[in-house]
Symmetry: D2
Subunit: 129 residues, 4 copies
């Protein structure tokens, strides 16, 4: 049983926020987790797809997380990869979508690297009313 | 200037959520970040306080984060520390409060280890109406 | 080209150690890297094999690393997994072998959790004369 | 008692390598650990010194590690820090020295970012005969 299905935990710890807020909350935790768990991992064109799948499978275990889509930019990998065979995974290579849901309310949390801000921005891309 | 004060970013990326939701969102990101960045770090009674301060200072840099309080349990450190001088930081040693605010709405995000669930639960401990 | 094949780097930075020492050096770096990169990742019986493969593929990119074998204990996962669907990857679940080679000298670096020491010990399991 | 002073562990697991090799081994583990544990941590000019101290205190707990010196480049922080108040710690900001010793043999392990290779190279800077 996943924690988001445990009625007692929900009643005791989450009665003070709405279903929409809960979806945002859990999706945001998972996005922060994803970034700080996997940043620094050795990556190249050879293992990028396997790493994407593994990151997805890992974060999909967390409460309320329905689906995770991770894209590691092959262009960035090629570009940075001139001298050696691999680099450390960094925020500017990542594009991530996390679909989080609680009690029928779906939130889509996005992380994308904004070149003009030089910052991997995390925001709520879509949210149920 | 912190990102949460950048009017253009807020208007473009965060117009679809309320101030309360934004406070929850940013606090939750930082809690997920904290856990997955620092879990595994070598720690003992000797450096626990320094590590707490350093974790706090790091997370307080993130958008909307006003204050972070990290407590690494000295009891857990003593108990696990019998054979050697240190252990890897793990979720059952941590008690964390993150105060996150956006446009006057304050959220207090908490992580505490629940012995009966054997799980470091993250939840919203207090939230402005 | 991998860094361990770059003659100029080897001559400039590694002339002061033997081939055997180089194999130990690179294998040890990768073992420390593996532990501290992936500890904390959400894992369950569902994604353990994918995570193993992904960790292997990541570390095999590093200099001198010929093969990496990662085993996440299914027993530990079952045992810790009673309340929820997943746990954070920790040192006591891991058994790892890293095969590192430089100029014909092979080192096998091992990490295994020693129950009596309550410690994930890293050591050189085999080394060419 | 530190693990490197435990005679039985040393005899059982480390009899097959020399004291010099042991010093290299333990220093290399700690360098790999340091990089992959702390890369990604939020950092700015405000908390760089505290983070340096905390990283040092953490790695100095590990077997055979006598001293750790971490320098986070203030120039890199200033340069990358134009848009926001902080960045994620990355390999190109770090200069690290780890002094590792076993049974009188001292190894100095270094990590420095080599601009021409665009790579944070780890090598043995000094080693006792």
């Amino acid at each position: 049983m996943k924690i988001d299905e445990k009625t007692d935990v929900n009643e005791k710890y989450f009665h003070n926020i709405s279903s929409r807020e809960r979806a945002i909350f859990e999706g945001a935790i998972s996005m922060g987790a994803l970034f700080h768990q996997f940043i620094g991992a050795p990556v190249s064109l050879k293992n990028a797809e396997l790493l994407e799948k593994s990151i997805q499978s890992s974060l999909e275990l967390q409460p309320c997380i329905k689906r995770v889509e991770v894209k590691i930019s092959p262009d960035k990998l090629s570009e940075m990869n001139t001298e050696f065979d691999y680099v450390s995974l960094s925020g500017d290579m990542l594009d991530v979508r996390i679909y989080s849901e609680f009690d029928g309310k779906l939130a889509l949390i996005r992380m994308e690297y904004l070149e003009d801000l030089r910052y991997p921005l995390m925001y709520v891309e879509r949210i149920d009313e």
